[in-house]
Symmetry: D2
Subunit: 357 residues, 4 copies
């Protein structure tokens, strides 16, 4: 199913080279002011052609709201939002009609469905994430009402990485085209990506997400733990290979006595001195910062000839064509934020029925 969320629920549709992509948001509470400029600005952060280190493909990604908003306010009915595909150029893709691109979804879609829209990856194209960013913008508007702040930034490209987020000034993220708030590292990352691009290759990276001012109590015990849903949401983004939160994979090396977060009373409320928990305990937010890392593999489309097979298993060459990203992470930042916002908006709604009021 192409839906995500329980109460704040999004359903996306669309192929990269069909007439349009879009999303229905069902469960947005009535009375929310829908700021269309903000939605567009979020889409602009994701759109191709922003800078020299992203694909030079041009897509405007202008959207149209078809329903669910009346005189600027959400009405409680489904918000349908459509983005027309402009840069279709389907001829570019005929060469891969019968050949499976390495580490793409061509082979698996063909096997699963027997029929597929091969143009630009069709449904498996990362273009689908534009619909998520639009929905995420609405989730952000909803969260703003509750004071929750969502941000993300590039924390690693290849082997280049930044210090822990607590040592960074996250307000600087948008100042560099790589969306890394550490200016010195940002510069190196940009240089590295440029080098990789010239080598007609691609490289991976990590996006770190930080959620501030979450209310205590979001997340559901057992299966729908806050971090489990965050993990699923992030892993559902194209090219993601891993997710960790709080102390993450490094935390396995610690002793319990080092890892435990001591409770203290501070500023009139119960807080923790350290935050290895990443703001989540037992699957439920404890009011501290929620932070997590999302690993993106190197983009599979490279500007090189690669050996492969066709539908019938015959050897074939896949040639790199078109305009693609040498590294996905700068454009992934708004996508990570969008998915985080959708997860948090959903849990905010779900928490309204946790106890008798």
């Amino acid at each position: 199913m192409n839906s995500y969320g329980t109460l704040f629920r999004i359903s996306t549709f669309g192929e990269s080279h069909g007439p349009a992509i879009g999303v229905i948001i069902d469960g947005c509470p009535a009375g929310l002011s829908i700021d269309e400029n903000f939605i567009q600005s979020e889409l602009n952060r994701r759109k191709p052609g922003q800078s020299k280190i992203t694909t030079q493909r041009k897509e405007d990604d202008t959207f149209k709201i078809l329903s669910g908003v009346f005189e600027g306010l959400s009405t409680g009915t489904p918000i349908a939002l459509v983005i027309e595909n402009q840069d279709q150029r389907s001829k570019d893709y005929s060469h891969i009609q019968n050949t499976f691109r390495p580490s793409h979804a061509d082979f698996t879609y063909e096997s699963k469905y027997g029929v597929r829209d091969y143009r630009g990856g069709g449904r498996s194209s990362a273009r689908e994430t534009a619909a998520r960013v639009a929905a995420g913008a609405i989730a952000k508007l909803l969260l703003k009402n509750s004071g929750v702040e969502i941000s993300a930034f590039v924390s690693q490209v290849g082997e280049l990485k930044v210090p822990p987020y607590t040592e960074l000034d996250l307000s600087k993220t948008e100042e560099t085209i790589i969306r890394c708030p550490d200016p010195a590292t940002a510069e190196k990352m940009i240089a590295l990506i440029d080098e990789v691009r010239l080598a007609r290759d691609t490289i991976g990276g990590i996006v770190t997400g930080v959620i501030k001012n979450s209310p205590v109590g979001l997340g559901e015990p057992v299966f729908d733990k806050l971090h489990a849903e965050l993990g699923k949401a992030m892993l559902s983004i194209n090219a993601v290979k891993g997710f960790e939160y709080g102390s993450g994979f490094e935390g396995v090396k610690l002793r319990g006595s080092q890892h435990n977060d001591e409770f203290v009373k501070e500023g009139g409320r119960i807080r923790t001195k350290t935050n290895h928990s990443g703001g989540v305990q037992g699957g439920i937010s404890n009011g501290e910062d929620i932070y997590f890392n999302v690993a993106f593999k190197p983009v599979a489309t490279i500007m090189q000839d690669q050996p492969s097979v066709d539908k019938d298993g015959n050897e074939a060459i896949v040639s790199g064509k078109g305009r693609h990203d040498p590294c996905v992470v700068p454009r992934a930042v708004p996508i990570v934020e969008a998915m985080a916002a959708i997860v948090m908006a959903d849990f905010l709604m779900r928490n309204k029925v946790a106890k008798l009021s």
Copy 2:
């Protein structure tokens, strides 16, 4: 909601010190032979008191099937399975009635619900995972029909780690109490855990899961990608801090030209030469091994006095009491397998409606 899965759907219930815990499996197809001995053997792999490096607490974890099985076969109706709690000893827990244990779910449950069964963590206790293991055993029986094989093992404790799974003989996993198939490392891990235990401390580790012989085509595009559901399922296990599959976090350092898995025809079917994809492309299985790592933090309960606060924010001391695991990973192995089996069983069912037949 305390349910997981779309078509093969499990719903667990129960607190660690209530009358019983259990699970309903809804959507198990009719006609499956339900081997109760196998279910018990899986529960035995998870139960406490197995070895010197696990908690010495004794729980038999014998189960009873209340419905859904007739003359040894599943009937297509819900399979309800109950495990009575025997070792309740509630008096042990009165001391934490009003105090929040560090890095446990006491504070978040109290905040979310206003009322909670504080005995042994109640619903947040890892005891809930026994219900998952029982359900996972039934999922394994279902997968066996399709030839899918699920296994897991301990790949890291603290800083001690094993080589990649492809260099190991996974049939040796159950030969050591740590459930690590690399005998030399296993010995060191056991010694390390023993040392940690004597220091009244705990330590984290990693469990690696491997799924062999998956049919091509399992997993759903977009949100319910195979690895996204695996990730959610793993992250929903108590104490898990991270999930990665295929090349994972290390993969971000590679170039696309290194990372891409070349397609070849081999043995009459299309395969990949390498497997950085971890058996999943575009969220859908490609027939190669699916492998992933699950990071477990050090157990939060340590046999030491820890400063904390009580409900009212007053300072309080939490004393380590009872019998607990110094390291969770050996007992986590069957839990990881169970959740992987549930995910795969669900996708196996879902795939039956992917195309017109």
Copy 3:
């Protein structure tokens, strides 16, 4: 799937002659006082052997809560509730192992699943409704907090029917064994059922449900309209053949000018003068009484020999055996109430997220 409800969600399990039946209630908000005596009293209203016009079979229907309640309060975790089957007497059912009882589910279950627990109808037995009544009792406790009152009564047996509910004193429903609040008609109904019983036959009837003091705003537009969910819930009860609300089937004969309910201001709030709408407009409660009729067919098990076929299509005789109800409606009253309560509790929860607060 054996679940019903979105936020207040019940999942039932169990066969009539297995070890137990039961229900998990997931989504009951924390802090609700769970009155076990009330649950038992509701089960007693449904249980067999209450009077001369119901089956003489004896089942105690005592229940046990396994989870989700701590010191008398719901904790927000799943409430598992089990009722053991006592009067199993499986030998009674061997004669129908291979023969399909007319107008029962034997043939359809056999065709759908290939295997079934034939004893007493197994999963298709109306015994399953005991689990609904237990869950409904908890829903009633939740609704009581909001002032919502659920009631039902027998309004028709065969051709005998009572005046509209507005002309009846519903507090008299429990005063007669037929659960009809119109004493004169009640007496005739009892005599009719007795006559039918002596003729070794069965008869149908209608149960009317009335929901008073519903808040305005419950129900969701489009598919999950309040009356659509009530209809589904009622139609899911064994032996139900029809559902109508408000003016119902009779309403089709009216003109719009007769049928429309005029709005007026009364007692400080907006009300309608008439109530052909049955308290629901556009799928959403308007604060007036919600009332509806549920048609029950005559019980399929009759104390007569009936021609039928066996699994292989050979002619066979089904003999009426055992102790069965000559008319299902008196025992159906608490079941109708239970399902109505579950529907309303669910919508009460869902409505908490309809608008920004």
Copy 4:
């Protein structure tokens, strides 16, 4: 939530006077030939302005498929289908901005959401059903593959009714503008509606649905019984007040010995001699005709002045304006068929996982 169905799942969106309405169909299996002409012909059966007894409003209801179909075949990805709203004429509706039309959803939407698109009823307009008809057309294409035939017809207008469906030639339904296959009654119905229309009033009616050639085994036990889902689907259509199947409300008057359907072997398969069961036993199809009645109230919009109140409870007059249907049933026929098709398509898919194959 604005979605219906479990595996074949539709989600509709749109207000009557917004830019567009539409539907996403998620779960349509890949490889289905999508006949766009057929979809349009179904939409044409529902559209306004067809005949003198329907509204004279003109809407073309032409649709556009945005995704999920490639070279004429479904691809297994979501099919998004949009119908632009052409006849908006919003000025017509300003007079009801603050006044509640009797027996419409104005008051309940206003109360539930605090904000609403009042133009033409907005989301509560029956215009939403065009999206259902489009989705139903695709469901019909899917069912055709399995031989299932869906039909519906007008069986009653006011007090005028036709004989049982088994005595009618259903192929004649489309021959009259009233969609009643009994020519003599059809003529009377048309005359009655015309009379009502001239009196500036409206009238109700009944649509009967008949499903032929259903496979045995569709429907799920307990809550998702075939007839319970059919009931919900029908009751979710605007203006519906009741649903009954098989013997329905009349069946309550029968004895069990009259009502039971005797099993016989006929034509190599097990059938029933009579069909009071309406093709469904224990919630599961038995292969006989599934038939049901759907009661529609008289249209609430009448061409008369009606007393009402405004938002503040002040007395106000609602004047009948615009072009509306004097009787909804002729245009409801394709809607009933569409919803029946969607229910059956969903159960067809769900049944594929009922047993091990």
